[in-house]
């Protein structure tokens, strides 16, 4: 075969946007040059709850270069109804509207924006805005909020209620082995490296272009149109490069609102960038408490699974996650059930963060599984195979594919699991205790209706386009590879465009559906171009394809040729020339369709993983090092092993952060997050990360999505923190049930 095999689906090419990124040419939301632009600096609320009684702007307005100060007192009119501010996620409740009125709902809430001709002037003046508040009683203490926990009547549309099977209570009471423990995950903040930013270009004719840090340009476009009095066609949102998201950019964040309001007020272009400290005043992973009851036979076979979990939300919206369902789906227990509630506190609404629900629920559950394996005196990996379920045990649906068994086997082999001695504290390396832990990961393989266009120019250059986003996920590269594969072109002959609301319709980038969905749409669009080319080839001199049907030809090395023929075929440029057209284009939509919807209800679609972790723990000082990780992933077809591996590496690193580092500390008296910066909110640094090996096990699955792709953005984090926690137990004999596992928690267990 020809050159296209080196670039198409399944090959490890380097990112096509790599050059832009390593040269600094890639522009992010705050980096677009817009003439005559004002810089907006946000003033944040000092209190957690109450109202603004006065704003003294005199000093701030006296600073040279200050053009306007926007607050609830003088903001331009906005839409009346809550529904106008609904975004794609459609969280039940009242969406936050910045500068709407004098009410303070959470600490750090934006209360004013100072607009200056320079950033420095605005920054200084913002420090001079003096605000007087009337404070009210508040609570951000999750433990206290549990007294108010409830199951919302109106559910998030992504929420799946736990389905009870059998009689879990009775089975638990009768079980030979019982485990009943509380598990906990701290509040985490997404902290993508790029701070949330919006540059609004005010064109002066009713149109605006918004360069926005978002995971979905069209979602922001619709949101701005409905909430801020624009016609949708007058709003263009661009997010060609996004400096990380992890879910923080799924919903339009408040800097977008502020920048649009400020542009409307001043009728000028405006840029608003959050500070790193302000990045702690919006989206965050909910804190979670999870009570798990497991019953098992002495052989280790589960007889009962029961979970009761609560996650934090705000007072004004009910964010919901699937916490207790993962264990119920993954393990074959005849009896299983669960409950789920949310607990409101006076913060911004919690949000989806990398593998929302699973990263919390599956991870905490996998610590409990490890505990039960020890109770049963069964190797933790063996324990998982004993309780292996070939079907989604909660929904009683077969999987389109589930190569978890292979992931266990191949991961164990690569890790050397068979050399593990089972007893805690039985393995050492010098002064360090060595621990090996395992956990399972599970995430959804989703697909979302997506459109794409393809346009082949006379010179043989192909442009594919889709309004999806590349938040580091490799979407530019995936689109390019799928196009190269479909039309037999080389990478340099293809330009992929994304991150622009003007492009064919795509959903927000999240849920790991991006590659499967935009990839499928690009393939369809390229196939449509191919068909048009085939038609055009009918007009070629000598009619080289004669009576052939479209199915009889293939695209190789820039040529259209008969399948199985040794002849190179006809260059696409020749066909283009003979067609007389400047370009051939097509736009197609990939959707699951009605038959797909039905099939979706008949089969479960998931990715799985087996995570193996080695830790070394200083016996006296409890310093933990995660020295080795093997993550074996079953995720269907891999479009690009290089970028796919990176996705998993990233998930593992964030999982190590979840295990050891990440926690946002609340001052409950002030109602405020206190470690609101990168110095004190610890994410893993390079020194924390040793060896990570990623394996993709073979899992052909033509059924799951059109390309057989399952998505990889999230599976890497799921279970990783459990494998670390379980390894720490194996090393030390200390079972910490509250993440992150910091040195103080390990010391506490020595008492």
């Amino acid at each position: 075969m020809g050159n296209q095999m080196k670039v198409g689906i399944g090959t490890a090419i380097s990112r096509v946007d790599g050059r832009e990124k390593v040269t600094g040419a890639a522009r992010y939301a705050a980096e677009y040059v817009v003439p005559d632009m004002l810089y907006g600096v946000i003033v944040s609320s000092a209190i957690a709850k109450g109202s603004i009684t006065a704003i003294d702007e005199d000093a701030a307005r006296s600073v040279p270069g200050i053009v306007e100060i926007l607050s609830h007192k003088n903001r331009p009119g906005e839409a009346w109804f809550d529904r106008s501010y609904k975004d794609e996620l459609n969280i039940p409740g009242t969406p936050f509207k910045a500068l709407h009125d004098s009410t303070i709902l959470f600490s750090g809430q934006p209360v004013a924006v100072v607009l200056g001709k320079t950033f420095e002037a605005a920054r200084y003046a913002a420090s001079l805005v003096a605000i007087t508040y009337q404070e009210e009683a508040h609570n951000i203490d999750f433990a206290v909020s549990l007294a108010e926990k409830f199951l919302p009547k109106k559910k998030r549309n992504t929420y799946h209620p736990p389905k009870t099977r059998g009689e879990p209570d009775k089975a638990f009471d009768a079980a030979a082995l019982q485990l009943h423990e509380e598990y906990h995950l701290a509040t985490e903040h997404h902290n993508p490296m790029e701070m949330h930013a919006s540059t609004v270009e005010w064109h002066g004719d009713g149109r605006i272009t918004v360069y926005d840090k978002t995971q979905g340009s069209q979602g922001v476009q619709a949101y701005i149109a409905s909430g801020f009095g624009f016609s949708k066609k007058d709003v263009r949102v661009v997010n060609a490069y996004v400096g990380g998201g992890f879910g923080s950019g799924l919903r339009p964040q408040y800097q977008t609102q502020l920048a649009v309001l400020a542009a409307k007020k001043t009728k000028r272009s405006v840029r608003v960038v959050m500070t790193r400290q302000q990045m702690f005043t919006h989206a965050h992973r909910p804190e979670c408490t999870y009570s798990i009851k497991l019953g098992a036979e002495t052989t280790g076979m589960f007889t009962s699974i029961y979970g009761d979990a609560t996650t934090s939300t705000s007072r004004f919206e009910n964010n919901m996650e699937d916490i207790v369902t993962w264990g119920m789906m993954n393990y074959a227990s005849p009896n299983a059930g669960g409950e789920y509630t949310v607990a409101p506190r006076d913060t911004y609404t919690s949000a989806d963060m990398r593998a929302p629900g699973a990263a919390t629920g599956m991870t905490l559950f996998e610590i409990a599984v490890d505990e039960m394996a020890y109770k049963a005196k069964v190797d933790p990996l063996e324990f998982r195979t004993i309780n292996y379920s070939e079907i989604d045990a909660m929904n009683e649906l077969p999987f389109t594919s589930k190569a978890l068994r292979e992931a266990y086997r191949e991961g164990a082999k690569a890790f050397g699991w068979s050399r593990r001695t089972p007893e805690p504290r039985s393995m050492t390396d010098g002064r360090e205790l060595v621990g090996w832990g395992v956990a399972t990961g599970m995430w959804d393989a989703q697909f979302s209706k997506t459109s794409a266009s393809a346009k082949l120019s006379a010179n043989g250059h192909l442009e594919v386009a889709c309004a999806t986003s590349d938040i580091g996920t490799g979407t530019y590269t995936v689109m390019t590879q799928v196009a190269a594969d479909t039309l037999g072109l080389s990478i340099t002959q293809i330009t992929a465009k994304l991150g622009d609301s003007d492009l064919p319709t795509a959903p927000v980038e999240g849920g790991s559906w991006g590659a499967a969905s935009s990839g499928a749409a690009v393939q369809l669009a390229c196939q449509a171009v191919g068909k048009k080319l085939f038609k055009a080839a009918k007009g070629l001199e000598g009619d080289p394809f004669g009576a052939a049907n479209f199915d009889d030809v293939e695209f190789v090395d820039g040529h259209m040729k008969l399948k199985g023929s040794d002849v190179a075929g006809v260059p696409l440029t020749t066909i283009m020339r003979s067609s007389g057209e400047n370009s051939i284009e097509a736009e197609e939509t990939a959707s699951s369709g009605i038959s797909g919807m039905i099939s979706m209800m008949k089969k479960a679609r998931n990715t799985h993983s087996a995570v193996f972790v080695e830790v070394k723990v200083d016996e006296d000082l409890n310093v933990v090092r995660v020295t080795r990780v093997v993550n074996a992933v079953a995720a269907g077809r891999i479009i690009n092993p290089k970028t796919a591996r990176s996705q998993i590496l990233g998930g593992v690193v964030m999982g190590i952060g979840m295990a050891l580092h990440e926690e946002t500390f609340a001052d409950v008296k002030l109602g405020r997050w206190m470690n609101h910066d990168y110095a004190e909110y610890h994410v893993p640094a390079n020194a924390d990360i040793y060896d990570i090996e990623v394996l993709f096990v073979d899992e052909p699955d033509p059924e799951v999505t059109p390309l057989g792709v399952k998505g990889l953005g999230e599976i890497g984090i799921v279970g990783t923190a459990a494998a670390v926690a379980n390894a720490i137990y194996h090393a030390t004999g200390k079972r910490v049930r509250s993440l992150p596992i910091t040195i103080d928690k390990l010391l506490e267990l020595e008492k």
């Binding site: 609340a666 206190m674 470690n675 910066d677 040195i743 103080d744």
Partner: protein, 337 residues
């Protein structure tokens, strides 16, 4: 960041002239001051840029010691051949702190004067007696996982954040300062202070005074020393607890031992009486535990930081062991030696 007058000092005399008054700040590497100005914690009306002053080198002292210029960067200091060979404890402590980029900018004088990392001090929306005297201490009864267990006061429980200074305390350095009333030398133990009821005063510098250098005494602690730092991640994080040990062994007995703790108090924490407990003793875990007890006598947590008392005790014992064995903690290999 507020607006200020900028003056670039060409000489010490110019610096002292421009640096007079409560509203002026000397600016060297800027890694702490600019940070605090962006947080509106520091709002100086005059910035005196002292980077052009001739305080960049290290010079040999008549007594065999070494004077480090106040404007040498932390990186220049740690990698200076004289420091590497003769004061490896200092090099190690510097390299345990911050990041390469910060060490390339931060100066020795600035390191001495860096301010606490207390969350409340940094956040102008919260009470802090150090930042805004009389507003109270938010950390007492608040989020205080990183706070002091020794020498705290009812008005402040902040800790001193430097790694370098912990080594300087153990080495018994002296701080050279100049000011409107002339030059003076401050023993390191007297340079930083406990918060008492004036927590806004981190050190004993007088108005307008400027650090010009740090003198390292000639004592040889090149065989038995360590800097052990425990933190929430393996690099680029402030210490929960750190220990600097400088030791001399003669005939299998401890002839001299200096132990300084970081992350536990408003200043590097040293107690000569703790060091005295192991003088002339053979190195042993028991002896080290006795020293740790003496060093930590009276230590008390504020709730979230209670663990630091036990952690500090373990760290002192381990660090003394590292020093005695001549196996100092590597700042590259994160295994605790």
């Amino acid at each position: 960041m507020n607006r200020f007058d900028y003056a670039r000092a060409g000489s010490l005399a110019e610096a002292l002239r421009d640096g007079a008054g409560d509203d002026a700040r000397y600016l060297a590497g800027g890694t702490n001051l600019i940070d605090l100005m962006k947080e509106n914690v520091e709002r100086p009306l005059r910035i005196v840029d002292i980077n052009r002053l001739d305080l960049h080198g290290a010079t040999e002292l008549d007594d065999g010691g070494l004077r480090l210029g106040a404007l040498m960067t932390n990186a220049e200091t740690a990698y200076h051949p004289q420091v590497e060979q003769r004061f490896p404890l200092l090099a190690s402590a510097i390299l345990a702190g911050a990041s390469p980029q910060l060490r390339n900018a931060a100066t020795n004088g600035g390191n001495l004067n860096q301010r606490t990392r207390c969350y409340y001090f940094y956040d102008t929306a919260t009470p802090c007696n150090k930042r805004d005297p009389g507003t109270g201490c938010g950390a007492i009864g608040g989020v205080n996982r990183i706070h002091a267990i020794l020498g705290a006061s009812p008005s402040c429980i902040a800790t001193h954040p430097s790694d370098m200074c912990i080594a300087l305390a153990a080495l018994g350095a002296q701080v050279q300062v100049t000011g409107p009333e002339g030059d003076r030398t401050i023993a390191f133990a007297d340079y930083h202070r406990l918060p008492g009821d004036e927590p806004w005063r981190d050190n004993t510098l007088r108005a307008g005074e400027l650090v010009t250098g740090i003198d390292l005494p000639p004592d040889d602690f090149t065989s038995h020393y360590t800097y052990l730092k425990l933190r929430d991640r393996l690099s680029y994080a402030f210490a929960l607890v750190s220990v600097a040990v400088a030791m001399k062994l003669e005939d299998g007995r401890i002839a001299d031992a200096r132990i300084a703790l970081g992350g536990v108090a408003h200043k590097p924490w040293r107690r000569v009486e703790a060091e005295d407990t192991i003088r002339n003793q053979a190195p042993s875990t028991q002896a080290f535990e006795t020293a740790a007890s003496a060093l930590l006598a009276g230590a008390i947590g504020q709730g979230e930081n209670d663990f630091k008392v036990a952690l500090a005790r373990k760290a002192v014992v381990r660090a003394l062991g590292q020093a005695a064995a001549g196996t100092p903690q590597s700042q590259i290999d994160k295994r605790v030696a």
